[in-house]
Symmetry: C2
Subunit: 83 residues, 2 copies
Amino acid sequence: MAQVPISHRPNLLDQLSPREREILPLVAQGKDNREIGSILFISEKTAKNYVTSIRKKLGLKNRTQIALFALKEGIISLEETNE
Amino acid sequence: MAQVPISHRPNLLDQLSPREREILPLVAQGKDNREIGSILFISEKTAKNYVTSIRKKLGLKNRTQIALFALKEGIISLEETNE
DNA sequence: CCTGTCGTGTCATATCATGTACCAGAAGAA
DNA sequence: TTCTTCTGGTACATGATATGACACGACAGG
């Protein structure tokens, strides 16, 4: 238990906007900004901004940690990752 | 089943050198090259090279996918990641 | 004993992707 | 109006990727 209990965290996910919640699982599946952009029909730049915003809100260092976070939270499962 | 059965994969992990097998879990835990270098007392450049080699041997696109792979293979568990 | 050759470990350079720090306009809701 | 969200942008710093290079030990053949 090297981690803050969920009950003590004021819902990190609720701090994310709806669009950010769309971006999150894509990052967690190992997709890069260009892929995310083409999936959601936005520019790579915008995708980048969302990832940065997500990372800051969740207090994470990089997108690999975003993936680990998403798995811990059950936002994605290992089965729904590409490979 | 969008994936090659394990029995048909000739042990991807066996293709990794001993040193690469040390790097793999660190990457999978979301550590960056600088951290990996300081943990293993090698330069950031060398750590970088190992990650590239691992990624190519495993046929993955980036280090987030390395993390997902390591989790699927049970090389690391979500509990042993930092945050 | 020599001499390749191979795997491994190490580090470097160059280029591309990602991250950081902003700014700003459009649209809709409060 | 004011606020949030979504969208795209610039500029720069850092991280990641592609590739090359060298040293070393192991090992086989000569």
